[in-house]
């Protein structure tokens, strides 16, 4: 897969704001960001209210996803361009959903909200109204999603990539450094997991690094075995969607899954192995 098949530049986006069949979607961690200002014509998806099941600890199912996109006025044959804050974590997370539910043509805006803001490009607070559609999602593609038992079975067998910060990996912190440290689950990482913080895949302005730089990062520096399948995880599955995107969509590795249960699930399981410290540890 070529970079231009899955990523669009800010220039391309600006030139295609009014192109029929191209729908911009902002996906945010902070719902108020969209209301303050968004790319002209973009609709909003809230990562929590729209993408999580309100009762079970799981994300929206095929039917809920169909309803969401229908309500937002997105058609099955639209080109969907996703962007958001936090260096596109949540946009990458939504991208993963679009792929899970079989949307054909979906792309990320390289750099997301950050690059757009740093370039001082126009945003608007205008309310966007699109006519509802009859979107039909495909059944969930389990080739892209890892569950806990599969992750435990992958220890020492598949590539496990822990994309949290080095301190979270080592067990010195339980959460990213912009949040208070109030979690209670165990700290550490899944034994044999390689530490490649998600941020290493991105430039300072939020754009993805080149394919050559990414390959050097994962294979050259971290030691990812290209002959093996890969599972990426973080704390709750967003940051690892970003890495999943880099590995599967940009570098083209075929069998790459995102473990969305991630550390909040794994670090709370009874009886599973955990490694502490900066080294991957052994099986």
């Amino acid at each position: 897969m070529a970079r231009e098949d899955v990523l669009v530049t800010a220039d391309w986006a600006e030139e295609n704001l009014d192109t029929p069949g191209v729908v911009f979607v902002e996906v945010d961690e902070d719902a108020s960001a969209y209301d303050y200002g968004h790319i002209k014509g973009a609709v909003k998806i809230d990562w929590k209210d729209d993408l999580q099941d309100p009762i079970r600890r799981d994300f929206v199912n095929q039917e809920q996803f169909s309803q969401l996109l229908s309500q937002r006025g997105i058609s099955n044959d639209d080109t969907v361009v996703l962007y958001g804050g936090n260096n596109n974590w949540f946009a990458a997370y939504a991208y993963w959903y679009f792929k899970l539910y079989g949307h054909e043509d979906v792309k990320l805006l390289d750099g997301g909200r950050k690059k757009w803001e740093l370039d001082a490009r126009d945003v608007t607070a205008e309310v966007v109204k699109r006519e509802p559609t009859n979107y039909v999602a495909k059944p969930l593609n389990w080739d892209l999603r890892a569950k806990r038992d599969e992750v435990e079975a992958a220890i020492g067998v598949k590539n496990l990539i822990d994309v949290r910060s080095p301190d979270e990996y080592a067990g010195r912190l339980l959460a990213p450094a912009h949040l208070p440290q109030e979690q209670s689950q165990r700290a550490g990482h899944i034994p044999t997991a390689l530490s490649v913080p998600w941020s290493k895949a991105a430039n300072e302005d939020g754009t993805f690094k080149s394919e050559a730089e990414l390959r050097e990062l994962y294979v050259g520096e971290a030691g990812l075995d290209e002959g093996k399948s890969t599972i990426a995880y973080c704390r709750i599955g967003e940051r690892s969607s970003h890495t999943w995107f880099a590995l599967r969509e940009l570098l083209g590795y075929e069998d790459v899954k995102n473990y969305d249960g991630s550390w909040t699930e794994y670090g709370s399981l009874v009886g599973v192995p955990i490694a502490l410290g900066d080294e991957p540890g052994t099986k």
């Binding site: 961690e29 804050g85 740093l118 001082a120 080095p166 010195r172 912009h178 208070p180 941020s199 290493k200």
Partner: protein, 103 residues
Amino acid sequence: MSDSCAAPDQDAALPASVDIEKETVLTGTVVNDEGELVQGAYVRLLDGSGEFTAEVVTGEGGQFRFFAAPGKWTLRALSRYGDATGEVEADRGLNETKLAVSR
């Protein structure tokens, strides 16, 4: 605080659950050439080895805040007015820094 990677409101008062005696808080404001507070600046926290740790976006008050650990940190601000870098030797409690961005 929610159980998420979500970015908390940077202008809000410190939550009551945060114990300043125990936490190491890196906070401050981003200003431009004119000395005005910059909203929408991206502030990145890098650890002692220059490795990225976290990033927040400033609100109306141009304010940022990180919960970290005592030690050496680098703060890096990016904005439409330019960039700035600041070094901090953080202790427990509040550590305040002003970042003046310019082209």
